[in-house]
Amino acid sequence: MALKNKEIFLNPLGKNNPVTVQMLGVCSALAVTSKLEPSIVMAISVIAVLALANVVISLLRNTIPGRIRIIVQLVVVAALVTIVNEVLKAFAYDVSKQLSVFIGLIITNCIVMGRLEAFALGNKPWPAFLDGVGNGLGYGIILIIVGFFRELLGSGTLFGIKVIPEAFYEMGYENNGLMILPPMALIVVACIIWVQRAKDKDLQEKN
């Protein structure tokens, strides 16, 4: 773990992306991406929770007994997520209704647990903070790409504003309703993985 701070921050954006490479946090990610706005709110919430949880656990790392660390981590994360949930309810009620149970599911988002276990328990608070923000951004990028394509192709809008001109529809263009359905999120992520692994041969799996 002798990575420089810059690498700690940048690695999760590409080569070590939490969703496409580490295979973490796929769960709650996909269902919220049918529109761009909830994807961004979700990404910001995860970045906040991840960075803060990393810092807290990193500060406590020498005082937590090994046997009960999972429960301690879960309680810290659950407390942070509760705060995020209350803030969202107060300031962005519509979006928080759209996200419904998925905010609560940040608690069980494997990215958070994975980073706490793999990084925060063994590192100082500042690198832990950078690691949290980096991984959160890596997750957020995937979310935003998926949300962008699904909203653009699925309903012809971005942030609820029409972007595909009327003339296209007159020429016979139709919104692809399939993109709104949940399984298409998986296909879009699979395409991202395909592009990424075609560029970076190291990431390809043997079988």
């Binding site: 496409t20 295979m23 973490l24 946090g25 796929v26 769960c27 709650s28 990610a29 996909l30 269902a31 999972i70 429960i71 879960l74 309680v75 659950a78 407390a79 997520v81 509760t82 949930n85 209350e86 419904s100 149970v101 609560g104 599911l105 608690i107 069980t108 988002n109 494997c110 647990m113 359905l181 949940p182 399984p183 298409m184 999120a185 998986l186 296909i187 992520v189 699979a190 993985i193 395909w194 592009v195 990424q196 692994r197 075609a198 390809q204 799996e205 043997k206 079988n207």
Partner: protein
């Protein structure tokens, strides 16, 4: 009786945890390389779901919900502890997983060692937390319904992971574009299975 049956069937097929909501995807993708371990994890998840859902239901309705504490006396009518629900739910789930781990280690050491790290990771499996949160959202009429819902979603999850594991076992011998091998193909397969399961959504019992 009929509503129990319809909750059961719809939680297995129509509202399948994986194909309709993408919950528990991480362990689903990581453990689905062969059918045997997939089966072990699936059974464990189904069991934890069936046990935690009724417990969380009782906590939700007699401790956490707005006015749920009124059985203590009239002065508690206005208490609303619902902001605590995330922490309470996850604590119940974590302690149940710990309990199951201890029981398994004692009575089924072979299965215990074959599951390894994935057993404690059930605590952070979103399908289980998701089950509790959906239960809270749906406001079931009684404990029985909550139990049936837990059992049904557990069986749905088990079916999904066995299905994908069986497909991935066969897939080892097929010729897939190199960048898509492994994870990418698993994603696409899940999506296709998801489309298949969507055809159940017309069923009304």
């Amino acid at each position: 009786m009929q509503e129990y049956l319809s909750t059961f069937i719809s939680s297995i097929f129509v509202e399948n945890m994986i194909f309709a909501y993408f919950l528990g995807m991480c362990s689903y993708l990581a453990v689905s390389k062969n059918v045997k371990t997939a089966m072990g994890l699936g059974v464990a998840v189904a069991f934890v779901l069936t046990v935690t859902l009724p417990i969380n239901y009782l906590l939700e309705n007699y401790v956490l919900k707005a006015g749920a504490l009124s059985w203590l006396g009239e002065q508690f009518d206005s208490v609303n502890l619902s902001f605590l629900s995330f922490i309470i739910f996850i604590a119940v789930i974590a302690s149940m997983v710990q309990l199951i781990e201890m029981v398994m280690e004692k009575f089924m050491p072979a299965l215990y060692s074959s599951l390894g790290i994935f057993l404690p990771l059930i605590a952070v499996n979103c399908a289980i937390m998701g089950g509790s949160l959906f239960m809270q959202q749906k406001a079931f009429a009684n404990v029985g319904m909550a139990t049936v819902y837990g059992l049904g979603s557990g069986i749905g999850w088990l079916l999904a992971i066995i299905g994908i594991a069986a497909i991935r076992e066969k897939l080892q011998y097929s010729d897939i574009p190199k960048p898509l091998k492994g994870l990418g193909m698993a994603f696409i397969l899940t999506a296709l299975m998801g489309f298949g399961f969507m055809s159940f959504s017309g069923i009304k019992i």
